[in-house]
Amino acid sequence: MVLKDTGIIFGLTCVLLIALLGIFAPWLAPQDPNSQILEFRNKPPGFSGDIVLYRLAPELPYVSLVLKEVDIVDETAIITDILNRKHYIKLPNIAGGTLAEGKKTVTFWLGTDQFGRDILSRIIYGARISLMVGFSASIVALVIGVFLGALAGINGGITDTIIMRFTDVMFGFPTLLFLIGITAALEPNLNVVFLAVGLVTWPGMARLVRGQVLQLKEQEFIQSAKALGLNKAAILWRHIFPNSLAPIIVTFTLGIAGAIMAEASLSFLGLGAQPPTPSWGAMINSSKDFLRIAPWSSLAPGTAIAVAVLGFNILGDSVRDILDPKMNIDR
């Protein structure tokens, strides 16, 4: 493979980047992902403007006001906003107590969406959602797949036949359609999405694990473990599982890429994360009607999805290439 040497570095970089963004989202995001500044709707990347944070009374939360001019008379700030309306705000009600403290210049490095929300902050928080859905869905698939695959492989006979026929049926059903069916039948939200993705994608893992068990079962060290009187569970756990860990990890990593894509697709169709959740797929869904006037609001989340999926795919592929150079680059 062409990218063999650089592949693992590139894949790891993408995955680590997404992971760091997701984990440290509250510290990295320049703004609250859901706070709207309606005066700054659909602003292009790099746009910056002045705002004042204030509240009408001490018990109310701070709101932002986009300002054009400001005058201070006695203890009151007279703020002219961009629509030339005048606001009279007492200085103690401005964040920090003085105008110098409350006035901020905000820059939207990736622009804003149709509600005046900062796209960069939403992308950063979106990493969190993609990662969480990707991991939890893959863990669901891992648990079911390893359990059923091992059960089929170690027992053989009728158990094997039933489980494998079942995986055939699951494979017979197109994945995205299956997911759409489940999320349409239930309430669309992220918990349904990760469970559905896990419940639909386990057969790949089950086939892999079964194959591993069947292959290892006949080897001498397993035979001798059996002769020593170890029971099936112990053989599975101590001998078969550690020896099949590598392909399981590869499948798991590729599964994360698939799950991230599935979540994005479902959210894009409106069957996943619901507004205002900053899921990348949902972001594209809600901003696609503004493609002509604000293309950046769909371009940024699309790039983010591509980078995340590419990262996990390349990582999985290159780990597999390293483990088994004989394997081709087929899917």
Partner: protein, 310 residues
Amino acid sequence: MIQYFLNRLVQTVPVILGVIIITFVLMYIVPGDPVVSMVGERYNEETVQRLRQEMHLDDPLSLQFLRYVGNVFQGNFGNSFITGEPVAKLVMDKFPNTMILAITAMFFAVLVGLTSGIISSIRPGSLLDRGIMVLTLAGISAPVFWVGLILVLVVGVILRWLPPTGFGGFEYLILPAVTLGLRSAAYLARLTRATMLDVLSQDYIRTARSKKLPEWKVVIKHAFPNTLIPVITIIGTDFGSYLSGAVLTESIFGWPGIGRLALEAILKRDFPVIQGTVLFMALMFVLMNVLVDMLYGFVDPRVRLERSRK
């Protein structure tokens, strides 16, 4: 040969049955009473009771399932909650559109995938090869709906070469077909490259070269026929899912196929249509897979022998 085909057909029976069970269960787990979602919030008890009886909703589950299977085999998928039209008719109205889109997309994928794969394999490691491989990786990882939106923006809105969305003549077909086929094209390019590299290092190619055949003849006449296998693989894995509803592509381009029919039914919570379209698409998917497997057996005798031995 016939033995292999028969075996393959028999194997699909449990799969088809499983697909029917899954669609039945999917609609059974829908929260809320289907009759209530049919008549709306303000209903009177009598109507609900009458409808429940008409729809046999009070029967035991097993009887309901048998009746469902019976209806499906008679081609009766129920009627839409909203328009009252038979679901089978709705599906059949939209299916040709999906078919056209799927065939065009596959044509594009095979054309582009094969060409770039072969170009890549002629000088492995060259700048061109690396470029193509990076592009294919991007093509595999970029979300379909996003690629579609970019095409709409660049080709449809900025350059105005093609109509961005809608349905009509051939010019409306190009963007959705490219969007739908791009992933397959990328996969096919990689598979073709791998196959070609494998083939080009074999003895009979060396023989061909050593008798001073021109290089293009070696590639086209001796190596190229081997790429038939990856082509069938791609058609096999992807064409079924195209037919089973290119839901994402159809929703971006407003293409009136069955994928969009299903999605609209979902938004309106029109359950018989959802159930019918999902079942139909899944059956198409199963059917396509069988056909392609048979094609494999037809093209490659090794497959036939190995599988009938099982």
